[in-house]
């Protein structure tokens, strides 16, 4: 369920590092909690983000949720598909529903994040 090569945060974001770039999105658990996504607020390309800094927000019919950057970096690209098809976040949160691509500032940032098995255990803990 949760890709083994992603890292995860307690706020249910994922990050996939590819060289000096990284893709960021929200997890399957998060999209289920949110319900039908209607708007995704994306930051501007070039924005400098610290770890845990607010990237933007995701609006679903019944709630709004802030998205935090899992690692520090500079916004290289945003998924503009989400402007017309915000439901991609619900349909494919780990793939086509990616939110932004960062130029990684500090590769060591991922060391404080959870790996897939840890995240799955973390989710089990939440259900109690």
């Amino acid at each position: 369920m949760y890709p083994q090569n992603f890292f995860y945060t307690k706020d249910h974001e994922w990050v996939q590092v590819k060289g000096d770039q990284a893709l960021v999105g929200i997890t399957e658990f998060a999209q289920k909690q949110l319900g039908d996504v209607v708007y995704v607020e994306l930051p501007a390309v070039g924005t400098q983000l610290d770890m845990h800094q607010t990237i933007g927000s995701i609006e679903s019919v019944k709630a709004v949720s802030e998205v935090f950057s899992p690692i520090s970096g500079e916004v290289a690209d945003v998924n503009s598909e989400l402007n017309n098809s915000p439901e991609l976040v619900n349909q494919d949160p780990h793939g086509k529903g990616w939110i932004l691509r960062l130029k990684v500032k500090n590769k060591a940032d991922v060391n404080s994040l959870m790996k897939a098995t840890e995240y799955e255990k973390f989710l089990e803990g939440l259900e109690h």
Partner: protein, 362 residues
């Protein structure tokens, strides 16, 4: 938490459950947008058993109901219902509700789940001097709502009630799926539909039968999430959001349920003064002009000054735009008036538009 008699049915369908004023209720099954569109294009089935039922019986049932409500209950024939309210002496809301005339000297009040206990206490605190009895029958009633353009088609084969002869706001006793019920042509979605009341212990039989009958027509079970988006598109009030004990019936743009000619009722003197002197604020519908969703309590600005907070707001799944309700100063309530809503750190433009936002075309 309290459960309705359909709790197992929701869980079997994989509903996402939430706590709603002490009740374990389904908030969504397939998803709010899917469910909302199903009701607008085919049909949806809701468990609304959490709502309250208060029965007023006695020789003076009618004068009692007339005293507590603004609408004219004397116009109700047998098996006829009307939308009305329990009013405070200030002409504001204790609750909004439906009143059914079930017999001479017998009226059924159907009230919001969140207010059932409060409403019952309110009713019994006003019994003095009236030859009536008030009973809180909420625990014995289950209630289902079947709403949508295909509702009649789906219900017809399951009931001996003559649906084709049933006009809006009328009711009839009969069987649905073999179970004794009261069926009324009422609802909270803006579509045609029926509300089905029963005191039988197995309403699940009705639930399953309706879903089966409607399967090929596209019926879906509907949760509280879509219930809210549907009623808001139809500009139906939600107590706690749009109306409460600080909003008068006239400010809530519900002048049509106030019938001064029937005689005095709780709050009628205040409302009469307000109707003559003019109201200072009124609830209006708005749409957002920029991207975003306006939600309850977001600040509303006119000319840069905060004048109110959003009462209800959402992204309307059928209309595909953000809408909401707010009380604006009366001079700002004209259609087309633009104002701003604070959404997190931004000010988003909004405009007063006519309501209901959605009106069915059949």
């Amino acid at each position: 938490m309290k459960t309705t008699r359909l709790n197992a049915n929701h869980k079997k369908l994989g509903a996402k459950m939430i706590e709603f004023f002490g009740w374990d209720m389904p908030v969504e099954y397939k998803g709010i947008i899917d469910e909302h569109l199903a009701v607008r294009t085919a049909a949806g089935l809701f468990d609304v058993s959490h709502m309250g039922e208060i029965l007023i019986t006695g020789k003076e049932a009618l004068p009692f109901v007339q005293h507590l409500t603004p609408n004219d209950a004397s116009r109700l024939a047998l098996n006829h219902a009307q939308y009305t309210a329990l009013t405070t002496p200030q002409g504001t809301f204790v609750d909004d509700m439906l009143v059914y005339c079930l017999d001479l000297g017998k009226y059924l009040l159907v009230v919001n789940a969140a207010n059932t206990d409060k409403d019952y206490q309110w009713v019994i605190s006003h019994l003095a001097g009236f030859n009536v009895k008030a009973e809180n029958l909420s625990d014995s009633y289950s209630q289902l709502a079947l709403q949508g353009p295909k509702a009649a088609e789906i219900l017809r084969p399951l009931t001996d009630v003559r649906l084709d002869e049933m006009k809006s706001f009328w009711a009839a006793w009969g069987k649905v799926a073999g179970i004794d019920t009261l069926v009324s042509r009422t609802g909270y979605t803006g579509e045609d539909g029926f509300e089905i009341y029963t005191t039988a212990s197995n309403p699940g039989v009705i639930w399953d039968a309706i879903l089966e009958s409607g399967r090929s027509l596209g019926i879906q079970p509907i949760g509280l999430g879509a219930r809210d988006t549907l009623r808001l598109e139809a500009k139906l009030m939600l107590y706690g959001n749009d109306i409460d004990d600080k909003t008068t019936i006239l400010e809530a743009d519900l002048k049509w349920i106030v019938k001064f000619k029937k005689g005095a009722f709780l709050g009628s003197d205040v409302l009469l003064k307000q109707s003559e002197g003019g109201i200072r604020r009124k609830i209006v519908g708005f749409e957002l002009l920029d991207r975003g969703i306006a939600r309850p309590h977001y600040p509303v600005f006119v000319g840069g000054e905060k004048v109110a907070e959003v009462r209800s707001g959402t992204f309307a799944p059928y209309l595909k735009k953000s809408i909401g309700l707010v009380y604006l100063p009366i001079e700002k309530t004209e259609i087309g008036t633009e104002f701003e809503i604070g959404i997190r750190d931004k000010k988003v433009r909004a405009r007063v538009i006519p309501t209901p936002f959605y009106k069915r075309k059949y």
